[in-house]
């Protein structure tokens, strides 16, 4: 039997004005297990707290109830007071007789009765309290960033600046992401490479940053503060330490007609290549699928011209295993496939996506910045942009969301054309123009008002390539009439979506993703850069469509959260977490499915079943990950789960006491 102490607070007249304290005290004395009852004008004051502490020691109390204000107000205060005695701080419950009693009821008798009932419930609960001990887990002061786009790079720089080691894993041969492919950037029209390259170089030379390009995440173990992650560095076939980046190899490579990924297939690359001139690291990769040496065993020209002898055909994938305290997912976006959008005639060489257009207008791109029709290499007389291709549409082939960046980059593209070729006619088909943001609407209006770009509110129904020009059938939604018009080049503002590999990454890290494969935030408003899984953070467009300013701002926020975690030496874990009775667990996986934090896994465990030893698949709770929501407890069909601090017994005791 517990020895319980009850402390009733007057809170000046806040409680005592409506609640008859003497009556509450008197009634409490008759509750089972109650050994000591006291009252005081301000229990939270220094004097009040020492009174509680003294009573605990003098009367050897095993549990206490504070009938006072809301536990949201002072539970921590009184837990601290209890911790100064020999009592475990979790052997304390509060009865909320102020916010939920004296302040909301006027009738003194009713309020007094209720204060008594609430105190009774807290006493009943304390009977079933058990001492709880917050756990501790270590923090490895190192972060891993997955994805080396602008999000990953700026987040890594911010973390590194705070003094922590950061590794970046990038799947392609260079960091930079989509931003590296862009020509100019809205809303200022500054050159993308000019603002991105210095950041990439900063990351490359930062003493706290290690970059693993042409690499993937192989496996993940562990949890917040203590992840063990294996990275697969794919064989580059070039020794990173020896290569000087001279480029003699790709000049000599005889395989020259491979559609280059970086140029969105508009330009060709060799079998040994660096994706672009400012690539970091500036070390080529051999594409083994196309390399003659790998296909036929003959060639090796690159090896003969490489002065530092860096080519290594025998190189194998390398596995690196490292410990991390935090992981940041920054895998970004990619345009959707247009295979199912036959009406836009994307198979025609003169119908291109916006990203292809970026490469075409880029002075370092496949056409050296010259705007041409791919089919006949002629300069177009008219260009038509079509917005919302695959966005904001409920059809299965499309995305229901707005891709957000297309209105702005289409206005950008239209102005870039007009800047270079004022004589080209530029039309834009749109559904709505959405340009909120600092200097964004002004930017779009400039396209219309200063550059004379012709915006047509209407949906394009069909595009036909008749050889020397493209025919467009559309509806002008303002005049409600059919349009049939001719143009020379069409640019499709294609919807963006998360990269495919993010599903696999999210799976390995038990981070959740939404139906569109965007990463889910721990809280849409209050935890916008954290995943629901502790220690896994999010940055950039993998969370949802974002432009560069938003990506960089968000990545800074992510870095702040990561730094906050890495600055700790150890994590103190909440002890009010799920509690399993292995004897009743049948390993059904019901709890694992509802846990929002991936805190439950399974292990083959030896169970003593009435003297018979048996190996059974049993749930195991990760104490560092469990947040104590209780979802698993109510879901468990076997009654094997309970929640410490809010156990079935505790809550049932409260119900019984209130209904008494």
């Amino acid at each position: 039997m517990q020895k319980i102490g009850v402390f009733v607070c007057h809170c000046g007249t806040n409680i005592a004005g409506t609640v008859n304290i003497d009556e509450v005290v008197e009634n409490a004395k008759h509750e089972p297990g109650v050994k000591y009852v006291a009252e005081y004008p301000y229990m939270c004051s220094e004097a009040g707290q020492s009174m509680v502490q003294k009573a605990i020691d003098e009367h050897d109390l095993s549990g206490i109830v504070i009938s006072a204000c809301s536990p949201r107000m002072h539970e921590t205060t009184f837990r601290r007071a209890a911790a100064r005695t020999k009592l475990n701080p979790f052997m304390l419950e509060m009865a909320n007789i102020r916010e939920q009693c004296s302040w909301v009821h006027k009738d003194k008798e009713e309020a007094t009765n209720k204060a008594h009932a609430l105190t009774r419930a807290a006493i009943a609960k304390v009977h079933h309290n058990t001492p709880l001990f917050p756990g501790e887990s270590p923090v490895t002061k190192r972060a891993l960033v997955i994805g080396g786009g602008i999000a990953g790079v700026s987040c890594a720089l911010d973390i590194a600046e705070a003094g922590f080691v950061v590794d970046i894993v990038e799947s392609t041969p260079s960091i930079g992401g989509k931003m590296a492919q862009l020509d100019k950037t809205f809303p200022t029209l500054d050159c993308s490479a000019c603002i991105l390259t210095p950041k990439m170089v900063d990351a490359q030379f930062h003493e706290n940053i290690n970059i693993h390009t042409y690499s993937e995440i192989e496996s993940v173990e562990g949890f917040v503060g203590d992840f063990t992650i294996t990275i697969r560095k794919k064989a580059r076939s070039v020794d990173m330490k020896k290569c000087t980046g001279c480029g003699a190899c790709y000049d000599k490579c005889p395989i020259k007609k491979i559609p280059g990924e970086f140029d969105e297939g508009l330009g060709m690359r060799t079998a040994i290549y660096t994706p672009f001139a400012q690539a970091i690291p500036n070390v080529p990769v051999i594409d083994r699928e196309h390399c003659l040496k790998f296909k036929t065993g003959k060639c090796g020209l690159c090896e003969t011209v490489c002065a530092p002898d860096a080519i290594d055909f025998e190189q194998e994938d390398e596995l690196i295993t490292e410990k991390y305290g935090a992981v940041i997912i920054a895998t970004g976006i990619t345009p959707i496939s247009l295979d199912k959008f036959g009406e836009y005639a994307y198979t025609s060489p003169d119908v291109i996506t916006s990203l292809e257009f970026e490469r075409m207008t880029n002075a370092a791109g496949p056409t050296k910045g010259e705007l041409i029709r791919i089919s006949d290499k002629k300069k177009p007389k008219s260009i038509t942009f079509i917005q919302c291709v695959g966005s904001r549409d409920v059809a299965v082939r499309s995305k229901t969301y707005c891709s957000k960046i297309c209105c702005m980059y289409t206005a950008k593209h239209a102005m870039l054309v007009k800047d270079k070729y004022p004589d080209i006619e530029v039309n834009v088909f749109y559904i709505d123009v959405r340009t909120p943001g600092k200097n964004f609407d002004e930017f779009y209006r400039r396209a219309v008002e200063e550059y004379g770009v012709n915006y047509i509110k209407g949906q394009v129904g069909k595009v036909v390539d008749n050889g020397d020009s493209l025919w467009i059938q559309a509806v002008d939604m303002l005049d409600n009439k059919q349009i049939k018009t001719k143009t020379d080049l069409i640019v499709l503002a294609t919807a963006i979506e998360p990269v495919k590999s993010v599903r696999n990454i999210a799976g390995m890290l038990s981070a959740s993703i939404d139906t569109n494969n965007f990463m889910t935030e721990a809280h849409p408003k209050l935890k916008p850069v954290e995943s629901p899984t502790a220690g896994v953070f999010l940055a950039g467009a993998c969370q949802g469509p974002k432009d560069i300013p938003e990506t960089v701002a968000g990545a800074g926020a992510t870095a702040a959260k990561v730094i906050g975690l890495l600055a700790k030496d150890k994590l103190i874990t909440n002890p009010c977490i799920a509690d399993l009775d292995p004897y009743y667990c049948n390993g059904c996986s019901a709890c694992e499915k509802v846990c929002p934090y991936g805190a439950i896994s399974y292990e083959d465990t030896e169970i003593n079943d009435h003297g018979k030893k048996a190996i059974r698949r049993i749930a195991v709770i990760n104490k560092a990950l469990c947040q104590g929501c209780g979802a698993c407890v109510v879901t468990c069909p076997s009654g094997a789960m309970d929640l410490l601090g809010f156990s079935n017994r505790q809550i049932t005791a409260e119900v019984d006491a209130i209904c008494r």
Binding site: Q100, V594, C629
Partner: protein
């Protein structure tokens, strides 16, 4: 606050509130001094998904006349998905109450945010009136 001066019936109502939104909403009703009937007695749970239907049955068995469950608004659950599980589970559970001999109207599920002190108080007033109209819960008395 006697709702019907002519009736001597004072209902007993148990309210389960999740810690992050609804319990805080109830506290706000308090700091804003908003009145609601003293028959409402709140039990704090971490999340609406912690409310086991067995707790509700237990309350009815022990003589509660009404049980109200409160959680964060959909999309706002502190644990992201808890209230979705609660909504599914509790809706199903409510639909089986008649079968157990308890009028469905004796229960209610409501989303109350930490900013909705007003909504908390008015919900509690309305629910108490509803229970008042139903009268005493006598059907489970035999198994008490």
């Amino acid at each position: 606050m006697p709702l019907n001066p002519n009736s001597s019936f004072t209902p007993l109502i148990v309210a389960f509130c999740c810690n992050w939104c609804s319990y805080a909403g109830a506290d706000l009703a308090g700091t804003s001094r908003l009145n609601y009937p003293a028959q409402i007695k709140i039990i704090k749970v971490p999340c609406s998904c912690r409310i086991d239907p067995m707790f509700v049955l237990r309350a009815f068995q022990k003589g509660a006349d009404g049980v109200i469950l409160c959680g964060c608004h959909p999309g706002d659950c502190h644990y992201s998905t808890g209230n979705y599980y609660a909504r599914r589970r509790i809706t199903l559970f409510f639909s089986m109450l008649e079968y157990l001999g308890i009028e469905k109207e004796r229960t209610h599920l409501e989303w109350v945010s930490a900013a909705e002190g007003n909504k908390f108080a008015s919900t509690m007033r309305k629910f108490t009136e509803q229970i008042h109209a139903l009268g005493k819960n006598e059907r489970l008395e035999d198994i008490r």
